[in-house]
Symmetry: C2
Subunit: 234 residues, 2 copies
């Protein structure tokens, strides 16, 4: 016996929801679809899983092709499998969500794919069920970032507390008290203060911090509480 009989084979695709932060706005990377149907419409970056490729490998390949970036935060999100989600042919989509430092993004490669960063709040409508995928990724980002230190993946190696706070405020579409925010973030023990200031946004300047990588990796799965009243935000 070398095949299962009487069963339907289908295409399996990966689609990536890629988030970035430019210092002010939370953004998503989209591409113009290059084939019919819906050619020319905005879409998540994706591709079919190849013969000898795992799902994770496929997602990493797609991400590398689009951004030129390797070793970015990438996590499987959810699989979508409505029978008619792709009108051409039955296709299961395994979605991944990714967080990356927008400033490291290799723009030259993006031209091959007609890729563009959109502010999440001004995102165009997407093909197929991609809008639903983004919605789920956004919910997961909020959920996970309230409990685990994932938002650091969106910042450069060096960042200031006010920058970090802006990012949290953008993700949760709210404002936090800076005294309490600073106290809570510093109390995690995740941050190392550098002897260097960012003078970009004030005369006094704000100290740069970087992640304590050891502490970060060792405690990543711990449940912290980054967000004061997470329930009220949902």
């Amino acid at each position: 016996m070398n095949r299962y009989s009487n069963q339907v084979r289908m295409l399996v695709a990966v689609d990536c929801i890629i988030f970035g932060f430019d210092g002010t706005e939370l953004k998503i990377l989209l591409v113009k679809r290059s084939l019919e149907p819906e050619k020319g419409n905005w879409s998540l970056m994706g591709g079919f899983v190849q013969k000898d490729e795992s799902l994770n490998e496929a997602a990493n390949r797609v991400l590398l092709q689009l951004t030129g970036l390797d070793k970015v935060y990438l996590e499987q999100l959810h699989s979508f499998g409505e029978p008619v989600r792709d009108p051409i042919e039955r296709t299961i989509s395994v979605t991944y969500f990714s967080l990356l430092d927008l400033t490291k993004y290799k723009q030259q490669l993006s031209t091959d794919f007609k890729a563009e960063w959109f502010p999440l709040r001004k995102m165009p409508s997407l093909i197929f069920d991609h809008g639903e995928m983004v919605k789920m990724a956004r919910a997961k980002l909020r959920y996970k970032a309230s409990l685990h230190p994932i938002l650091f993946e969106l910042l450069s190696e060096k960042f200031t507390i006010p920058q970090l706070q802006s990012l949290f405020e953008e993700v949760y579409e709210t404002l936090f008290d800076k005294r309490n925010f600073s106290r809570k973030i510093l109390s995690t023990g995740l941050l190392l203060k550098l002897n260097e200031k960012d003078k970009g946004s004030s005369k006094k300047g704000a100290y740069y911090f970087k992640l304590d990588k050891k502490h970060y990796k060792a405690n990543f799965h711990n449940i912290l509480r980054f967000i004061p009243n997470p329930n009220e935000l949902l």
Copy 2:
């Protein structure tokens, strides 16, 4: 154009990790595989996704076939897609994890599938990558139950606080202080006290409670904290 060209089609299966609680032990429902390869070895209950069936529909169908139960807690967990995970033919497995009240389980149907409940701690080794799937489901159960009231899905409609505490203790393989446990659970406002006692385990008897369904549904997604020091348990 009515097909995508030059792409590989694969089988897509759903596999279900089904948890139950008998009052003492946390259990998992397994079946003896009925076809080659690995015929006769223990396996998760699963099946191939059919032509006009969504992933959720496939999982519900499989669960109904095995347990006779409809409308149980069922949640998509993760998709597994290593190229060689099934030696016969490339198959993507979308896993679902399910929590059900073991006492409602229709045993007569299980005979068709040679299904059996195993205590999680004494589970036999499973075919393919099913062991890894169970491990992930167990981690997710612990994670989610520390933040959301999902363990109630494992109990009957009526239950006592000591029974609930036993369940938590079994899931986390630890002991909790009963005064603090009771206070924390009651403070959620999820429980309604009934005018009836369970005399099964003491002379005094323990009051039965049931879920306040409205409150449960409205607040399910809120992040609570059922477990005192979840970090130390991971």
